[in-house]
């Protein structure tokens, strides 16, 4: 797959910047795409990949910077203009109407609204689906299709509009390996026909397999641009997760006794997301255990088991030395498990409740009520205490939590989890999407909890965070857990290889 360096540039992004509140999602990102090439946009969750593509396609308006397609500037905030210019986008969350057929979804918006049925749409769809290897029945209802088939419809939609540039946002996240292979075959056919592709991913092996060039984003910035033929997974991983560290680091301490022990814990697969595979893990007092891994490799299943939201199909859970039998979120709370959920908006808080109500969600039946009556005075005092001691910036405890920034919302959740002095703390992506100040604060609180003797499990996709805070690091991949690595014994590149799943083959054989 030799690509002509001098090939025509079909798409140029020039110094695109975009902020959401205090979060800088894109910071002066520039990119050029040539005819017939596949460029991968690589980065962790929250690195700004999807935001960048939504700006290109007109879903968001950039704060600064411009887009050029085939040498013509593209008007901002206008999907219709992007479509007309030959840009087709396959969104991570499909934009299909389930009540319509495949053909209807493809035709939608391609004809003038008062025109009669387009005569040859069916023929064109059938021809495209043959040429590009996108098998799907034009009259099938989209609501009844599999995820892989829906993705084919999305690609057909773009091709039907004669797209010359295809943008695929995490296209393989929901596909089986076989479906991914079929997608790659389609993309190769497309580039052979002169189309250009931007492929967004955080999966290194896919980037290596399909892309000619790779642009790495971190914290909204381009941190590297490499030819995939001249690099390897380890180097890409290091670029993606970064080497610079400016955040709190925990000093090593002697670990205490095991507070929670998982033995051979197994959970069923959920579609393309693997469950846990006979996972064994010990969480010790006075120790931060870091769990590294690419998202969707079993982290959610592990967090649910620990928090009591899901029961393992096999294996045992031992807390404070005693095997647990009736495990539930309430039992977990009673045993001193503090939880910082992955999704603070949906799992961690109720947006339209005020800070007081959110603060007492875990204890309103015990601490803040008597004989079925809420004790609002105590609840408010408690909320005020969290606001003061965790520096939650807000107008007052009667503010709806929805109106707070992510960082302040997270501080309240943190304060709530820490209020009962939990022995075991489950911190799942505790700093994702936060600004640097809030990150440092949340991390320092986790370290403080460890120093008073709590066992902390830190789940994160950010290797910097894992390496900076953890006393022991495990890597999870496809539901399997690596051995524990002591602080400082592994480089980011080494961990990257475990994250990519390569090291597991050797470990399994041994």
């Amino acid at each position: 797959m030799s690509k002509d360096e001098g090939a025509e540039v079909v798409l140029r992004l020039d110094r695109i910047s975009k902020s959401f509140g205090a979060l800088k999602a894109n910071d002066a990102v520039s990119l050029a795409l040539r005819r017939g090439e596949v460029v991968a946009l690589l980065g962790e969750n929250g690195a700004g990949k999807t935001t960048l593509m939504n700006i290109l396609f007109g879903h968001y308006m950039a704060d600064e910077g411009g887009v050029e397609v085939f040498g013509q500037p593209l008007p901002p905030g206008n999907p219709r203009a992007a479509l007309a210019a030959g840009v087709g986008m396959v969104h991570q969350h499909f934009t299909l109407a389930g009540n319509l057929t495949v053909l209807e979804n493809i035709r939608l918006g391609t004809e003038r609204l008062w025109a009669r049925r387009h005569p040859d749409s069916r023929g064109k769809v059938e021809r495209l689906s043959r040429d590009f290897g996108l098998a799907v029945h034009p009259d099938a209802k989209v609501g009844r299709l599999s995820v892989g088939e829906r993705q084919r419809v999305e690609i057909l939609k773009a091709l039907y509009r004669d797209a010359r540039i295809l943008i695929l946002d995490e296209p393989t996240a929901v596909l089986t390996p076989q479906e991914s292979d079929a997608l790659f075959a389609t993309l190769r056919k497309a580039t052979a026909l002169g189309l250009s592709v931007i492929f967004i991913s955080h999966k290194l092996h896919e980037v290596m397999a399909i892309a000619d060039r790779c642009i790495v984003l971190r914290h909204g910035r381009v941190v590297g641009e490499v030819d995939t033929h001249a690099t390897d997974k380890g180097r890409l991983a290091a670029l993606m997760v970064g080497g610079e560290l400016s955040l709190p680091r925990a000093e090593a301490r002697a670990p205490g006794p095991v507070l929670m022990q998982l033995d051979g814990v197994t959970t069923p697969d959920r579609g393309a997301v693997p469950g846990l595979k006979r996972l064994t893990l010990a969480l010790r007092a006075g120790q931060i255990t870091g769990l590294a891994g690419v998202s969707g490799n079993g982290q959610a299943a592990l967090a649910e088991v620990i928090a009591g939201l899901a029961l393992p199909s096999a294996g045992t859970l031992t807390v404070h030395g005693a095997p647990v039998t009736d495990w539930s979120p309430r039992a977990a709370l009673a045993k001193g498990v503090g939880r910082i959920p992955e999704d603070r908006h949906h799992q961690g808080s109720i947006g339209d409740f005020d800070l007081t109500e959110n603060a007492v969600l875990e204890a309103y039946r015990s601490r803040f009520s008597r004989r079925g009556w809420m004790n609002w005075r105590a609840a408010r005092a408690f909320a005020q205490e969290i606001i003061a001691s965790y520096d939650v910036r807000c107008p007052g405890p009667e503010t709806r939590i929805r109106l707070l920034s992510g960082g302040n919302m997270q501080k309240l959740i943190l304060g709530r989890a820490m209020a009962s002095g939990p022995d075991i703390i489950l911190a799942n992506q505790p700093v994702r999407g936060l600004d640097v100040g809030a990150i440092a604060y949340v991390q320092s609180q986790l370290i403080a909890a460890r120093d008073r003797g709590a066992a902390v499990l830190l789940i994160s996709e950010d290797l910097d965070e894992i390496m900076g805070l953890s006393d022991v690091i495990h890597v999870i991949s496809q539901g399997r857990l690596s051995p524990g690595f002591a602080r400082g014994s592994m480089s980011a590149a080494d961990l990257g290889l475990w994250m990519a799943g390569q090291k597991f083959e050797g470990a399994d054989a041994a």
């Binding site: 999907p79 992007a82 934009t95 389930g98 939608l108 003038r112 025109a115 939609k157």
Partner: protein, 314 residues
């Protein structure tokens, strides 16, 4: 029992069924268009009242009957504009806005009535639409009597056909069905979610108002404050009954009208003398609820119904 059969085979019964069904069909189609685009329009009851009033008042002031229909439609569209401005670009609660529009439209009708006819004790009459004489058809023995209907009734049925054709056979209908299912899909294909939804609510509200105007311009010859009498709420149930499909919704309207026509006639039989008349009044509603339970089980609700769409929201 034989009395019921006598009623069911009489031409006058079926003429009444078609007449009672007509305003329901008009307003149900209006509501169906709104809901297919993803907006629940609870303003329907009030919009029917304003339509009934505006159409009647226009004719009373000297406009031709079809002019009255046009005025009613315009009034309905105005309230549709209000409803859709609040629910679509501003994304406010469709329940609250809908009920607010119903209250506003109903009281606007009362207010305008008092203002325009300050010294009238009983509402003045107009000359309503008369049954059309269709050569050939009207002379048939039984069918001629059953199909002795006004032009507005024929228009209601033609309009239902038009709505079905538009929804299923034109790109516009495709876009309306898509925007009620997944507005993001419409946006990604370069169409305007706001434009489609507002347009659907405005046009749908216009049809609701014509449904109301049918009562004053075709069924009766005058305007009473209570004359819409819950028909709007019935139409919302009919949309569910029809599983958001125009054909089935028309059938539902005819079924409800048949129950209604039947109960009026049953009141005049010996059975009517034996039972309290309120029981008969309740009959169509009870039967409609039963039918609704049976029919709506497998209905495919537009997935984005009542979900406001905010472009570019994270």
């Amino acid at each position: 029992m034989s009395e019921i059969i006598d009623i069911l085979i009489s031409a006058s019964f079926w003429a009444a069924v078609i007449r009672i069904a007509s305003p329901l069909i008009l307003a149900t189609m209006g509501e169906l268009i709104c809901e297919r685009a993803g907006v629940l329009n609870l303003g329907i009851e009030g919009i029917m009242v304003i339509g009934a009033f505006a159409g009647w008042m226009a004719v009373y002031q000297g406009m031709p009957l079809w002019g009255g229909v046009a005025v009613a439609m315009g009034a309905g569209m105005l309230f549709g504009l209000l409803h859709s401005t609040l629910t679509v670009p501003f994304g406010l609660s469709q329940h609250v806005v809908g009920l607010g529009v119903t209250l506003l439209a109903t009281s606007s009708a009362s207010f305008a009535y008092r203002l325009m006819l300050p010294e009238v004790t009983s509402p003045p009459k107009i000359a309503p639409f008369q049954p059309l004489h269709i050569p050939g058809l009207s002379d048939l023995p039984w069918l001629g009597a059953a199909l002795s209907q006004t032009a507005l009734t024929w228009a209601a049925f033609a309009m239902a056909g038009g709505v079905a054709f538009t929804l299923y056979r034109t790109p516009l209908g495709l876009a309306v069905r898509a925007v009620g299912e997944n507005p993001a899909a419409v946006e990604a294909q370069g169409l305007s979610v706001t434009g489609l939804r507002m347009g659907a609510v405005i046009v749908g509200s216009g049809l609701m108002a014509v449904g109301g105007a049918f009562l004053t311009l075709s069924a009766f010859s005058s305007f009473f404050f209570e004359m819409v009498n819950g028909r709007g709420w019935i139409c919302i149930a009919l949309v569910v009954f029809g599983a958001w499909r125009p054909g089935k919704a028309v059938l539902g309207a005819i079924l409800f009208a048949a129950f209604d026509a039947l109960q009026i006639r049953l009141q005049q039989t010996p059975l009517g003398a034996a039972l309290p008349y309120q029981l008969f009044l309740a009959l169509p509603f009870i039967l409609s609820i039963l039918a609704l339970i049976l029919m709506s089980r497998r209905a495919e609700v537009p997935a984005a119904l009542m979900v406001p769409y905010n472009k570019g929201e994270r």
